[in-house]
Point group: C3
Amino acid sequence: MTAAAQASLADLVARRRPGRALESDFYTRPDIFEADMAHIFGKHWIYVGVEPDVPEEGDVMVVDIGKWSVLIVRDDDMAVRAFHNVCRHRGARLVNTPKAVVGNIVCGYHAWTYRLDGELIHADHMGEDFDRSCHGLKPVHLRSVAGLLFICLAETAPDDIEYLAAKMTPYLKVHDLPNAKIVKTVDLIEKGNWKITMENNRECYHCGANHPELTIPLFAYGFGFSPQTLDETELQQAQRYADLVTANHDKWEAAGVPSREIEHLADRITGFRTERLPIDRAGQSQTLDTQVACRKLLGGINDPAMGGLSFWTQPNSWHHFMSDHIVTFCVIPLSPTETLLRTRWLVHKDAVEGVDYDLDRVTEVWEATNQQDGALVALQQSGIESPAYEAGPYSPYTEGLVEKFCQWYLGRLSATALQDAA
Amino acid sequence: MTAAAQASLADLVARRRPGRALESDFYTRPDIFEADMAHIFGKHWIYVGVEPDVPEEGDVMVVDIGKWSVLIVRDDDMAVRAFHNVCRHRGARLVNTPKAVVGNIVCGYHAWTYRLDGELIHADHMGEDFDRSCHGLKPVHLRSVAGLLFICLAETAPDDIEYLAAKMTPYLKVHDLPNAKIVKTVDLIEKGNWKITMENNRECYHCGANHPELTIPLFAYGFGFSPQTLDETELQQAQRYADLVTANHDKWEAAGVPSREIEHLADRITGFRTERLPIDRAGQSQTLDTQVACRKLLGGINDPAMGGLSFWTQPNSWHHFMSDHIVTFCVIPLSPTETLLRTRWLVHKDAVEGVDYDLDRVTEVWEATNQQDGALVALQQSGIESPAYEAGPYSPYTEGLVEKFCQWYLGRLSATALQDAA
Amino acid sequence: MTAAAQASLADLVARRRPGRALESDFYTRPDIFEADMAHIFGKHWIYVGVEPDVPEEGDVMVVDIGKWSVLIVRDDDMAVRAFHNVCRHRGARLVNTPKAVVGNIVCGYHAWTYRLDGELIHADHMGEDFDRSCHGLKPVHLRSVAGLLFICLAETAPDDIEYLAAKMTPYLKVHDLPNAKIVKTVDLIEKGNWKITMENNRECYHCGANHPELTIPLFAYGFGFSPQTLDETELQQAQRYADLVTANHDKWEAAGVPSREIEHLADRITGFRTERLPIDRAGQSQTLDTQVACRKLLGGINDPAMGGLSFWTQPNSWHHFMSDHIVTFCVIPLSPTETLLRTRWLVHKDAVEGVDYDLDRVTEVWEATNQQDGALVALQQSGIESPAYEAGPYSPYTEGLVEKFCQWYLGRLSATALQDAA
C-alpha cells in the first residue's frame, strides 16, 4: 500500500527485454537473492577451488556458500570428498578455520568424532539405542574436472557435468593442474550483486578505459567491436587478429593442444565456454611483459608461447591457463549487494620462488584488474539502486556473452524456482 | 501471529490524536520509512543546497536522497540543472564524489559521454540502430528560490513552489545568496528518524535546558511560553519582547526589508514559514557575542543590526539569514533511525578569511547547537522505540509548530500514499 | 514462491521431536525472535540483577530488554521500584547511562521531572488543563527474591513467582545477598541465539573437552553419564560421588542449610531448579584451588566448605552461591543471533580488596568458562544456520535439562504466542 507493489519473480522473468540489462530488482531484492542462493547456487554445479587446495591426506578446506558450509577433504586414499560442515548432534560447525589438517574430524562441542569418509566413530553418553551409522556426516556432490573442483548442493546434481568434463578435460590436462601449487589466494569483497560481478567478467567493452595492465597481453580485437566505428587501418588490424587466431588454433591443435572455441553458455544446464586465445607481444603469458613469469612450465609444456586457455562456467567462475601459470576465479554471493571474488594463482608444484618465479610478476596483472573491476561493480550497483535506473541496451558487438549469462540465469530460474512454485 | 499485528498506515493516520506526538510506528517502521521516502521525499520540493555549491560552469554536486542520486550541474550557460546520476547504458553511477568539475559527464564503465544539458553525445559499439537521442540523462525538477535550490523527484512537481518563490524572494534577496560563498559544510548523522530531527527544529521549549550558546542571541520569549507560569516581572519582559518585534518589523519594512511573519506550514503542499526576528544584546548576528562575525556584509546591507531572517520549509529545511552570514540546514533521511543534517555557512563571496571574518566565530553557535540537538534526537528515538512509549501531549504554548509539522506530514501522506492505495 | 515456504510457529512447535534439538528456525528467524521477546521475555519473570546494583537511595540502574528500557530505582524509603525509562511527554529516554545517582528523574529534553516513586512533579508550559497525575512514569512489576531482582513486563505477572520465592528464600538467605557488594560485572556478547546460550548452560557434557578451569571445582560425575561407557573403576567413583552428595545434603540440612534438589524446570510457569552441590578437592569454592577467594564469608556463614548452591531459572538465569562469593548470570537476547551474558561477582560488602580477597581469584574460573562457552555458542549457531542442519538427539544421560528447557520454552510459547493467535 505504501510503496509500489513488488513484481513477482515470474513477472520479472517474463517481461525481461532481450538484449537489455536486467531490471534492478534482480540486483537488489533480498527475496530474489534468496532465490538465487536456493536455486542457482543450491541446484547447479558450483566451482569452489582446486585439488591443490587439499594436496595431502587429512587436508581440509572450508567453503562457505550462503548459509551452507562445506568441508572439502582429502581422504587417506587420496580421494577428495565433500561433506556438510555440521555436527549431527547439536549442529555445531565442525571446522572453523578456512583450512585445517586433521586425522579425524572432531566436533569441538561434545567431541563427536568422524572419519574422513564421514562415518561417525565416537559419541559419548548416547546410550545403547543410539545408532552411530545413522549419524555420519552428510555428503555433498563433488566432481574434479582435471583438478578444478565443482560441488553441487542439491540432492540430485545435473548430470551434464559429465559432458563438460568430457569436453574440457583434453583442454585442461595439458596444464596438469593437479601437479600445480597455489602460490597466492586473494579474497576481494566486491560491493555489488554477484550477477554484476559475472556480467563484468563477460565483456571487455570496459577494458580499454579501465584495465591498463590487462590490455597489454590481451588483444583489443579479441572481445568484439562494432565494424562501423573502425577506420580502414583498424579494420585491417582486426582482420590480422582474426587470421592470427585461426593460424594459432591450427598450429596448437596440430601439436595436440586443443584450442578452438566450445560454447555452451546458454544452452546447457552446466553452461560453459572455452577458447585458447593468442597473447599479444611476446605471446607467452598474462603478465606485464607478456613473457612467462615462471621458468618451470606446467605439465609437459615445452613451448612457452601457447597463448592462454580461457574457461568460463555458469554461474560462478572463470579461469586462465597459460604455459607457466594458472589464474582461477571463484565468485560467491554474500548478500544482495556483496560478492566474494576468490582468486588463486598456481605454478608448477616444483617451481621455486625467487629461482623459477617472482610472485609479484605472476600476480600483478590480475591483482590490478580485480581491483579495477571491483570498483566498476560498485559503481554499477550504486547506480542500479536508483529508482531512476532503467535497463539499457547491450552492445550487439561487445556484450553478447553478458546477454548469454542473463539468458542462462533466467532460464535456470524458470526451470527451478518458477517450476517449484508452479 | 507471533507478535501483535501491525496497524495499517491508513489506520495510524486516522487514529492520530491532534495535539499529541505521533505513535512510535511513524518513527520506527521500515515500511513507513519507505512511504516517507516514496511520497514525502519523492513527491515534494526538497531543499538540497545553494547556488554557491556550484558557482562555476562545469561544477557538479551529487545529492543522495534515499536510493536516488541526483547531479546538480552548472551548465556552460550558467543555468543550474539537475539529472539522475545513473548511466543510461548499464546503470553505473556517473559521478562518485560529492563534488566534481567536469567538461562533459563521462561514465567510468564504458565511457558513454553526456553533455551538461544531459544529451548523450558518445557511446561506442552500439551499432547503427541505436538512437542516442533516446538515451540522454533523465532530468529532475529544479527550482532556485533566490539561490536556495529545491528539487522534486516526481514526474509532476507541485506548482505552489511558485507561490513560495513569489513570497520569499523579496525576503531572501536582501541577503544576495547567489553572491555568497560557502565557508563550511558539516554533515552530522543524527541517530533518529528524520521527523524527530524536524520536530526538534520546530520548537524552542528545549532550548533553555540544552542550548547555552544559542540562547545568547535568541530571545527566550521568542518561541512561546505559558502565561500562567510567568511572574509579574517575566510578564513585563515578555511584553517588552513583543513590542520590540513590532517596532523592529515596522522599522525594517519601512527600510525595504520584508520582515513580518508569513506562515503556511500546514495549509500548503509546499509548506513554509518565515519571520525576521530581533537578536538579543548587540542585535546583529547569531554569534556568541551577538555581533557580526564577518565585517563584509551580505548584498547591499549597511545596517549590521537587522536581526535574523528565519525561513522554515516542509519537509526538510530551515535557514537563518543575518546581515553578515547565512546558515542553512538540509535534512536527508538515511534509514528509519538515522538522519543526515547537512549544515552550510556562507558569507559574502569577497570576504577574506582572517581579514573580514574568523571562521570559528561564524560557525560556533550552530556547531554546538547541532551537536546538542543530535543528542536530544537520539534520546527521543531511543525512548520512542520502547513498547511502553505512549504519545504525550504537546504544549499548546511552545509546541504549536511541531503540531503543524505533524499535520502537514499526515495530510501529505493522506494525499499521496493513501490516495495511491485507494 | 522463490524460496521454500516458512513453517508457521504452530507447526514448528507441534512437529518438534522430543529428545532432539530444536529446528534451526527457532534459532534464526527474526519473527520467532520477536515472538520470543514478546511472549517469553515480555510475559515471564526475567532476572535482571541484584539489590546491590542499587544499594543507596537515588541509585538507578538501566536494564534494556529488547526494545524495552527499564529503570530499577532505589527510592528514599529503600524500596526498589521499576519503571519504563520513557518520558511521558515526547518519549525521550530518561536515563541514558547504565547506572546513575539522582534526586529526581529529570528528562533531558524539556525538563519534565519525576519523583523516584514515578510521580510527575514538574512540567513547564503545559497549560491549566494538563493533569500531571495522568502522566507519571509507567511502572514495571518487580520482585526481589532474597536480593535477586526479577521483573515482569506484562500487565499481569505470573503469580507463581511467590511459589519460587517461598521455596528459594530459605536456600538463598544463608548467603545474605542484600549485604553483599558487586566486585565485578562483565558483559559478554555471544554470537548465538539466546536459547543456545541457555542450552549450553543446562548441560556439562561439553565441560570435559572445553572447561579446564571449571572442572577443577566441579565433580565430573555431577552432571550425568552413561553407565554403559564407564569401566569398573569409574563406576565406583560415580557411586562414591552419589554417596558424597547424600552425606553432604544430610549434614548441611541438619545444620539449617537447605541443600536438596528442587526441580520445576518444565512444570511451572516460573520454572526453576536448585541444588547445593559438593565442590571437589578443598570443597570450598568455585576457584582454581577450590579454596575460598574471600576470607570474609557471606552472611553468618562459619564453615567455608559448604559446597555451591546452584539456582537455575527459566528463561534467562543461573547463579552459584558459595560461602565466600556469589556469581550470578543474566541472559538478554539482543538479536536472533546475538545474546548478552551479564555476569556479576559479589562478596561480603565489608570485605576489603587486597586484604580479604583478590579479585582475580574470585573471578578467574567463570571469566575463563564464559569465554569458552561463548566460543561454543558461536560454533553451534554457525552450524545450525546451514540448510543441512538436522536436529540431532540429546543424550538421555547428560542432556536431560536441555530437554526440559526446550519443553518449558515450547510450552510457554504455546500458552502465550499460540494462544493469542488462536
